[in-house]
């Protein structure tokens, strides 16, 4: 039979009390921080997973911000498109009107020419629409406008650049949120001295034909002019459709991101946060164990043969 000495009892109960106390302490720490992982050694593999998830959540949030920025840009260009198309269609109606009046008085042709001139000015203004200080049809230019009108020659020339503006809206998902001005409005001039071959030159041509001035002296409106303006309207509308498709894609991506973010956040919480109910039970159990260890140590060590010797 093994001897049981005071020292042996001391070591046994001390070890028991210390382990019960240390368990209680670690559970209390988890409870008070609300985290099951308070340091990497609590759960090394889940710590790494938590770090990855945090990165994913942050990145997703950034993608949502990028999408928001892209949507802002595209909303701005969309409303510019809508107005430009409606103006261009109005110009077409005026061309039809001009063709129909044919030999009618110069006064009405001048009135139509004036109206076409103001449409040209309006389209110029619309094509310089900016988002966040950047002209949406100006590509990556640092200029504040995409097109400029030369005050002496009256030519409208391009000061932006024909480059793509890209946004990262997801892992491996980069979208181009602009359409290049040369595709939308036709080949531009980049100098004040020469006219381009774009919608602005087309409108100048129509105006000249109605007035019988400039390049159209003795060359009144013909069916070709109507075809030209039709083609221009069609091209602008098709680019608006391209923009609309991108818009829908980004909106869908953004919706998917908020779902993903929810899933990621919930997984992160599963990994690193404490299940309060379960934890509360564990803490009170550990507390009872610790108290029991204290109680038994206190009562056992009081007893000795000395108590019974008279």
């Amino acid at each position: 039979m093994i001897r049981v000495t005071d020292g042996a009892t001391k070591y046994g109960s001390l070890y028991g009390m210390q382990s019960a106390n240390s368990r209680l302490q670690s559970l209390t720490e988890q409870m008070s921080t609300g985290r099951q992982i308070t340091k990497p050694s609590d759960d090394p593999s889940n710590t790494v997973r938590a770090l990855q998830l945090r990165g994913d959540v942050k990145r997703n949030t950034q993608y949502t911000n990028n999408s928001q920025d892209a949507i802002g840009w595209m909303s701005t260009s969309d409303s510019a498109y809508t107005q430009i198309v409606s103006m261009a269609q109005k110009a077409r109606t005026l061309v039809v009107q001009g063709l129909n009046s044919g030999s009618s008085t110069g006064t009405s042709n001048t009135a139509i020419a004036d109206e076409i001139h103001s449409i040209r000015e309006s389209i110029l203004q619309m094509s310089n629409t900016t988002y966040n200080g950047r002209p949406v049809f100006g590509g990556n230019t640092t200029n504040s406008v995409a097109y400029q009108e030369d005050p002496t020659t009256g030519n409208i020339y391009f000061v932006g650049d024909n480059t793509d503006v890209n946004r990262q809206v997801g892992d491996n998902t980069v979208v181009t949120i602009n359409q290049q001005a040369q595709t939308v409005f036709g080949p531009q001039s980049t100098t004040p001295s020469a006219p381009g071959n774009d919608i602005f030159s087309l409108l100048t041509g129509l105006e000249d034909a109605l007035r019988g001035t400039g390049t159209r002296v003795g060359l009144p409106l013909t069916g070709n002019d109507l075809n030209s303006i039709d083609a221009a309207v069609k091209q602008i509308s098709s680019q608006q459709a391209v923009e609309g498709a991108t818009y829908n894609r980004v909106t869908a991506t953004q919706a998917a991101q908020s779902t993903t973010n929810l899933a990621l956040t919930s997984e992160l919480s599963d990994i690193q946060d404490v299940d309060l109910a379960a934890q509360a039970v564990a803490v009170s159990t550990a507390n009872v164990t610790y108290q029991a260890a204290l109680q038994t140590t206190a009562s056992i060590r009081q007893m000795s043969l000395l108590d019974f010797l008279k």
Binding site: R3, T5, L14, S41, D43, L51, R59, N66, S304
Partner: protein
Amino acid sequence: VGSTFGGIVQAGTGLGAASYGLQVVSQNIDNADTPGYTRQASQQQAADGVGGVPTLYVSPAGLGGVSVVSTSRLNDTVLDARSRTEHGRSAATDTTSGLMSQIEDVFPEPSNTGLTEQLNDYWNAWSGVANQPSSDAARSVLMGAATMVASTLNSMSGSLTDVSNSASQSLQNTISDVNSEAAQLFTVNKQIAVGVGAGQDVNSLLDQRDVLLDKLSSQVDAKPSFNQDGTVNVTVGTEPLVQWTYHVGGGANQLSYNSAASAVTVTGGVPTAVPPIAVTTPPPSGSPLTFTGGSASAFQTVLTSTAAGVPFYQGLLDQVANAIATTSNTAQAAGYDLNGAAGTAMFTGTTAATIAVTPGFVNNNVAASKTGNGTPDNNGDNALTTATLGTATGSADKLYQNLVGTIGQASKLATQASTTQDAVTSAVDKLRTAASGVSTDEEMSNLLTYQRAYQASSRVITTLDSMLDTVINHMGV
């Protein structure tokens, strides 16, 4: 046939033995809580015809009675050795676990303030610049994040060095303790040798010897070898620390610590052979010790190990710093800044201690554009690509995650090893105190036994006395 008074002398030895037994009980009870005390027992023997035992209460040969042969020290040498081994391991695992916690504290993850979040912010700031390449605010956010990443790496590296420095200081203190214990052990050896030579009871000296050995073995991998007379020689690794026969007239060897090289050597041991004792033990070689047990081994590992110590984690952190600097600088070189110039290096330094944002690097130097060569533009494609580099293979983020995983795993294992070892040590301590500790209940029983033996012997004397009274005073009167 006994002589007239032989019975009284015989009963007198019983009185003496019982009285000595009570003294031993008293000694045990007095020292019930003395650290290192080993319980003793009075060893009695029937003295029928026994003579020549060098003890106080020996009876004359042939008279009978009881004699006290010796006072034995009731320890279990196997358990003593085992306890020392386990304490050495316990000290090593406990110290390792504590040091690993300190290293782990340098990496406060997962949290909203750790390097992971700062790296996330850094890459997201690149994305912010991609959205608005000419915005000074977006560029400021990026530069703020870059500065934060660099300074966090600097401070982490500094904290690791602090852990290393404090481990070095602790090793120094441990070695001072070992030296003082070695010197004490040498003195105790001397007292034991003298005491045994003079035929004295050296039990308390043996207790002191064992306490010193316990302390030594929890600090370094001290291996005792006991001599016939109770003196002890101690080696650390293969080097002699306390060599009794070797050092007659000398002293113990000493450990000497070179903190710059983190190396420990044994010094001393000038041969002072006193004839006729021959010098048989070689002096210490002076080559650096690699501790294999005790707290010193834990300090040494953390200080020097490139597989588990501070140098290892410092190396991993340097890789993180190098990755962030190299990735960012390469990305910068692929683009053009807001002045239309080719991107310049954003970070200098390739270690965690030295990494910093390049002096003179301003917001406009961030190379956001891929196309603006010579003519600044609003292109953000280079920033857009850079923002995705955090998820690339071998990125700083992934290296850092691995580092956190590695340190977490190491710290967890150290804690588990320490818990397991503590349970083993506690069990062995329990067995050891069960064998050599004082049980007050047992001493109380012994007390009663000796008390009754004393009373009974007195009774015998009283009876003999009344018999003699009858013979002397009442016979033939």
